[in-house]
Subunit: 369 residues, 2 copies
Amino acid sequence: MDQVISFDDVSGALVCQAGCVLDSLNQYLAELGYTMPLDLGAKGSCHIGGNLATNAGGLRLLRYGSLRGTVLGLEAVLPDGSILDCLNSLRKDNTGYDLKQLFIGSEGTLGIITALSIMCPRKPSAVNVALLGCENFSKVLQVFTLCRDQLGEILSACEFMDSESMRIVQTHLKLINPLPDNAFYVLVETSGSCGKHDEEKLNIFLEKAMDSGFVTSGTVATDQGKIMSLWGLRERITEALALDGYVYKYDLSMPVEKLYALVEETRVRLGSSAQCVVGYGHLGDGNLHLNVTAKSHSDALLSALEPFVYEWTSKHNGSISAEHGLGFKKRDHIYYSKSAGAVHIMQQLKHMLDPKGIMNPYKTIPSTD
Amino acid sequence: MDQVISFDDVSGALVCQAGCVLDSLNQYLAELGYTMPLDLGAKGSCHIGGNLATNAGGLRLLRYGSLRGTVLGLEAVLPDGSILDCLNSLRKDNTGYDLKQLFIGSEGTLGIITALSIMCPRKPSAVNVALLGCENFSKVLQVFTLCRDQLGEILSACEFMDSESMRIVQTHLKLINPLPDNAFYVLVETSGSCGKHDEEKLNIFLEKAMDSGFVTSGTVATDQGKIMSLWGLRERITEALALDGYVYKYDLSMPVEKLYALVEETRVRLGSSAQCVVGYGHLGDGNLHLNVTAKSHSDALLSALEPFVYEWTSKHNGSISAEHGLGFKKRDHIYYSKSAGAVHIMQQLKHMLDPKGIMNPYKTIPSTD
């Protein structure tokens, strides 16, 4: 199940089997001058079918949008063993309800995706990355607004990490921080079709960011090696955290202005019972990864974190699972982000397509028992 | 029901009631430096709630993607009178099934959308339009590929029309064709954040298009007046057709290479029984508007058109309704584009949410009787 079925180099529609590894698809497309519309840290091992089933977000969502827009069609095996063929490659199709949406993000609870069709953008010929240091989170927000204004259509990522995230990748992975002693870091990526134009835009942005005092220091990468090492500081945080101890992970979305207040409150709340509290994530998507480490698992620490984190997120109209999904552990927490009426319809949907409850049981949707 | 509820100028999320007119929202956003992610000829009268209910495509889909990606949340009144609140403004939310997708494009058959939240992009500071004349459709396709390559991230529309479309707007609306005597016309629009860069990219594209012989003549507009008059040639075709006689309308999507072959075959097939057969549409989306006019309605002409057009489209894996939806007239034609298994699931969905069949009855989904 890891074969490319077809690629249309006029429309950019790729049709492939669900077992293709994301990075292999990217390499296949790169030779044809195209790229996948999603990218994530796990690209070397994750399967595209799983990306769809979990509605993976990742690093390029800011630029290319979510899978709900880029996936054109899919084929799924239903709980009764029949095959649902919605594998078309059309950019527009308004004939009836859009059934493929049911399977995107339903975590395998309604059927198993076996093949898919996805719209792939042109591979950008120029990529630039800037790492910037900021004094406080309000300056991080100012940098975000400024880069949206100045970089416009070439902005392809805007990520942030706090000094604790940076400390953890330095400590455990021996990565080098080119901008020591900042409270926050913003990683800005541009992707465009003209290197000269993109560099001009980036330089104007950097000048304004410096002049206005939003940024205290910065470094820019245009060659692939340095780009990868700057991205490593952001992408390898998860790996570094795993080396720090037991990790409590939260993947939250909320209005971007509120993002960091939760990290600060959590830090105060936990005090010395936590080894490390880090906040980083996709600034452009309002998506915070709040991670807490401790020497080992502790019920006391867990009850200090939950339901506190979920209640805080819910109070600010956020989502308690921005891109990771609910799975087994969080399915009963769905009510923090969804109304009882909405969950009831989800339960009806589950029952309609999978009356025996055989598809990925005990996951995602609370049971009606 | 025509009020803006909120606008967040950091994230670009607009929350509004369903009765807002698309163009009013655009005007509201323009003052804040933002724009709606969709645009269509009917913008002056269509309601945003209807746009969602019909999953409207339109002129900016190539750039900003479909409503399935840009709509963040919605509120709907269900057939049992209860209110489903999915009105969040988060860019990412993977808590359970994405119920809002059920209502987008379901043509009011599952519930009535009353409010919505939508992600709005920055208003581009520079817009350029080029109208190009081509000798034949294969050159039209070459222009499309070239403009995707050369204009990359600033390409915001790529529309085409045939000489019959052009003749009809000249005849009935007295519009002036700045490039007479071409078999085909391509309208290319760029939208970007830097006028100087965009003009440079556009000039390189035009030079290559001329040098390679894809284009025989062209004109460029940068000022608002000329931009609007060039767009008028494309946007006012529908209006002109209505003045030509009775109109048989087809809204089809298919692999872009096949688009015009259907128009040619239809023309041959109908011969002198049709007054006029025109083909135009959204090249970038593989979306053809095939329209046929006659002095008055004729059953003979209709049966020469149908099922021929649907069968032809189906044979080429196309959609018999790309962006207009199925409504009353085309609901039983759904099988040309969807499998019996898929339609059965749609019927189950309809029955699940609307067991009494009171929402927009006789529309979109074939009845199970």
